[in-house]
Symmetry: C2
Subunit: 171 residues, 2 copies
């Protein structure tokens, strides 16, 4: 993953002063790097009997949709509140200040379905932990989560104990 890692760009002071943002857009623009990420994700779910890819808005859509196509699986979007048109389930999670929430369509995952969750970044783990809960709420089985980048100093894995998490690149 050294080739891929070199295509992640540091952008200082985004989204606010003092934060160094890991910009994955150079990776996305490089067809070889993008294919390597999706190939690595595919290896990690092969043989697990996964039936749906659930991906988190909106960078998660990019990796999740490509993986769903490659593996011949259905794709499920998880979005910010008010974006999904049909009946939804919702989970809130804590931010540094206040709370946020995500939603999934109630009928997007059927009881017993084996789900792989996809997002670009594991930071504090709050969003991903909420997404795992959403899948369970509708009776699905959240088998594994796949993320491109892990910011290990934020200890996001602590929120995901007992859940299998794979990340490709760690900072």
């Amino acid at each position: 993953m050294e080739y891929v890692k070199k295509l992640i760009r540091d952008v200082p002071d985004f989204p606010k002063k003092g934060i160094v943002f890991k910009d994955i857009t150079p990776l996305l623009g490089d067809a070889k790097a993008f294919a390597r990420v999706i190939g690595a994700f595919a290896e990690r779910i092969e043989g697990k009997g996964i039936t749906k890819i659930v991906a988190i808005e909106s960078r998660g859509f990019i990796f999740g949709a490509a993986l769903a196509l490659k593996m011949g699986l259905g794709f499920v979007p998880v979005r910010k509140p008010g974006k999904l048109p049909y009946q939804t389930v919702r989970e809130s999670y804590a931010l540094e200040y206040g709370t946020d929430a995500i939603e999934m369509h109630r009928d997007a995952v059927q009881p017993g379905e084996r789900v792989a969750l996809v997002d670009d970044l594991l930071a504090t783990g709050g969003t991903l932990a909420a997404c795992v809960k959403l899948v369970k709420r509708v009776g699905g089985d959240p088998i594994v989560s796949l993320l491109v980048v892990e910011l290990s100093f934020l200890n996001g894995r602590q929120k995901l104990e007992g859940h299998e998490v794979h990340t490709l690149i760690t900072f």
Copy 2:
């Protein structure tokens, strides 16, 4: 595309009263339908020398990223203002009331690159026309646009005269 069309669900009164929203999530959840859409898009750009897929946040990411992977092309996200971390170009466009805007990274498309634009829906055409302008602003060549659904009664193609547009399903 009859198989795909049946998986687009009408949701009345979303996002506001009187509007019937075309919900593509059942299509996304069906692996065969999703693959058919991406396959149809691939056919429409084959032989055109496309080098980048530019897709519009956030449902456009789902189709654009899968197409980029299938065709072995780089992927470029176009987003709402303030979401992209690096230097951007911006285009505003008119809404029913007021204006909105989209941004693209300045370095995401190189001069002379041949671009296919991807989104889920052609409605009034305002967002897509702005996206065509963004690609031109950085010196790229917007060759063709690919959209899953067209709401033909909104006459979106009027805003895109002289630009090649393909849609798969028309309402």
